[in-house]
Amino acid sequence: MEQLLEALTADVYGAKLTRRGFVKAGGTLVVGFGLLRGGVARAAVRADGNAFDASLPQSWIEIRPDNTVLYRTGKSDFGQGTIYTAYRQIIADELDVTFEAITTVVSADTDTTPEGGGTFGLLGEGTPNIRKAAAYTRQALMQLASQHLGVPKDQLKTIDGVVYGGGKQVSYGELVKGQNLQLSIPVTGDLTSIFGLRITGDPPLKPASEMKVVGKSYKNSNISSKVMAEEIWVTNVKLPNMQHGRVVHPGTLGSHLVEAGKLDRTKFPNTQLMVKGDLVAVVAPTEWEAVMASWQVAGTTKWTEWKGLPGKDKAYDYLRNQSDWKAAPVARGRKNKGDATAAMKASAKKLEATYRLPYWKHAPIGPTLAVADYKVDGSVTVHTHTQNAQALRGQIAMMLGTSLDKVVVKTYSGSGHYGRSNGGNAGAEDEAVILSKELGKPVRVQWMRNDEMQWSTQSPIAFSDVRIGLDANGKIAGYEIDHFMPAFQDDRMIGAVIAGLPTMDAPSEKGRILNSISNGASDIWLYDTVANLDERAHGTYQIGQKSSPMAIGLRDHSMRTPGQFQQNFPREMALSEAAALASADPLQFRIDHAKDERLITVLKRLKQESAWETRPTPAPKATGSSTGVVRGHGVSAMLRSGTYWGCACEVSVTPATGAVKVDKYTIVVDPGIVVNPEQLKRQVEGGAMMGLSIALHEEVPFNESAITAQDWLSYPILTMAEIPEFKVVLLHNPEVGTMGQGSEAANALGASAVASAVFDATGKPMRQIPLRPAYVKKMLDARNSDTNKVPPNHDEYNDSTKPKTGTPAPSDV
């Protein structure tokens, strides 16, 4: 046996194939990572909250004797469907099996899945790992087949799970039957960091021309299970003796607890009031009792006063004049060149403009929820819906002051939250753990809608100052932009902060990737003919973070395209305004300033697919004071993670009310390889509709103490009645590889196209979103000299064009 094992230890492009022994029944080839690089640190939580693994996770891929395949991923599904469709397709092609042969997908539990890392950039960031895992596996199978068939490896070929050579054949399943085989592949990285582990080495990969499964519209198996009510959602998790917890969050974003309210024991005989630091909560055996008890306790709980926020109407002034923009180094654009200041001075025509984007909520339809089961031995299992289970595990271990091997995070389907938990937590997880530990029973914590609006993180507020100078030919001679945005990634666990327990450091100038206050130049410059370019990005502390006695304030977190939306909107809106200065067509203006062939192809195709009418902007009959309806069109472009996007839209504006209706929307995208056309189309539609929601409606209201949005009336989002005629055009471009980015970039792309269409229709630049009627009206009525100063000062959402909603109060129950 020893000899055989030795004989079967082989090097596969730097991975190590071993036969661990023979088994009577079954058999598998398991592809995991070994300790090839040596010295894996165990169970040490580092100062930044990241850690190497304590107990080695399981395999990436398993080949089973019945010729089926199981694959595991540390990523989870947040509605992209990628782990059930595109990943399966990529693995199938690289492994040379059918899509159907991959029968099992195991995802995102820390005790059973490899690699970790956040669920974002699934195709662009994640494809190299799964391709390499599959490629190593196929090479190992060929190695086994070579010995089995007695045919040199270079004379073998694989088709649909069978190896052929020398007139003989053997299936993958037969190669592993009765054996316990392990393939250890080399990795690098940090399991509980936001990026997780990466597979190294260079196993031979298939060229795009040999892919058979990639490129077809396979259905998402997870969709069927949700539609047939067979899915196990995190909301369905029930444990024996589980209690329902509701948290009474502080009165303001800077309040300490003065006195917890008295629980009315006659009304709520089975409820317990729990206080830990400033964290106040109730737990009860039934959910309704917990909910009602939390309302009763909240009504009598006393908090210290705090008024450390500027309030929404003064937020942009505060940000410009009172935030410390010197605390973080200024980031510069990668393509900066020439002397933009000198070019500006020499320019005949100039645009100077300020663009503003408010805070948005991730606003999941279902509030954050977790079930924690803390055991007397100090171990804890957290059942939740997270984009980064390993990172959450590291954070929970840090809060408890325990080692990683004591913490398991199980991930289930849940309500999408679009980036909020890519650093681990979404809100309820740590609170569930704190309560479970105190109570000695499993506790399920679900936030109520107001907690979700008022205590979750948000996408950060931002503004940008743009200067564009045109030469005598109407071409851009110089372009300067300064982007201003507070820290956008605060992954501290809020329950831990309130309870006074350890969690990662707040964003600061000393922070690293997850808690830095630096801003980056994240919207890649597209218009390469411009000779003088200067892009600068400025960062600072979150608003209220330093003045809050709790170090809380308005906590920010990445959402979909963090930072890039905030930089793409000003750039693209300014480009359309510059086209107007040049009396040019805004789409052709972009093409004329581009050199990149992929961008030019996308924009030319956009022109054709959207039936774009080429003419100068604004429209010949543009007016902001008509009594009827005026129409216009707008365009935008974006490059994100190697994928090129173009968007054109048509709008109708009613100047008398400021109402904006988006009539038609066309998106052209070149994502490199289109892995699954139908899934990509749906992702683009969804992302674009959320982007339209942001463009038209979304803005987080807050006063000097707190976020004042509490529900869907005070934080309205897009409804079905508002969807435009919509067209997605996918440009399959196999030469450049798999770039992905379906719903994220589609989300960021539209706001500037809509705003520039309103500009085209009315002749008045729209330099801030959302384009709520009251704001649009104000911008239409502004004198030209005041265009940059239009104050964003109304709190009530009084859009009469929006469907009326009659909402019964909870007391009606």
């Binding site: 309704w288 869907w712 009645a721 909603t805």
Partner: protein, 174 residues
């Protein structure tokens, strides 16, 4: 003790009579497809059919469901089987056409709102078998206590799926 009819079965309920139907279905009866979204009848994630009419189970107390028929998506296949005199869905792999359409059109993304969306679609198609696009939009936006909200932005897919379901449900009819 209260007895209510859920998906064609009589179920005994121990929860207090003021408990919202949603919590009774999810926590006590293990009928878990309606989701808690807002507790305010503002989103539609918790929608169920009550005697064929879409209601928000987060604001309907369980006592209000007494004597009426509660249907969730778990009960849609059997509802369709009864309406069409087909063999019971319990012994076949039957799906309601709305469910078939939701899969065929690959509607859900995160899917959290989709149970409520399918309930709304069923209510609409039972009263209006061949709705226009405007009627579909109106049903999901203005017909109930609030618009049905989807954060993933699947509204386009929903419109296409309702049209597809309409074709499936009216097949062979004049």
């Amino acid at each position: 003790m209260l007895t209510i009819s859920v998906n064609g079965k009589m179920r005994e309920v121990n929860s207090s009579q003021d408990t919202p139907l949603l919590y009774v279905l999810r926590d006590e009866l293990d009928v878990a497809s309606p989701q808690f979204g807002c507790g305010l009848a503002q989103c539609g994630a918790c929608s169920v059919l009550l005697d064929g009419q879409e209601v928000r189970s987060c604001i309907v107390s369980v006592s209000q469901a007494a004597g009426k028929e509660v249907v969730t998506i778990e009960g849609l296949p059997e509802r369709w089987a009864k309406q069409k005199n087909l063999p019971s869905a319990e012994t076949t792999a039957l799906l309601h056409p709305v469910q078939e359409a939701w899969i065929e059109q690959q509607v859900p993304q995160c899917g959290f709102c989709q149970s409520g969306m399918m309930i709304k679609a069923t209510e609409l198609l039972e009263s209006r078998p061949k709705p226009t696009v405007d009627e579909i939009k109106a049903a999901f936006t203005t017909s109930g206590p609030s618009p049905h909200l989807c954060r993933c932005g699947t509204y386009i897919a929903i419109v296409e799926a309702v049209r597809y379901a309409s074709i499936l449900m009216t097949k062979g009819e004049a």
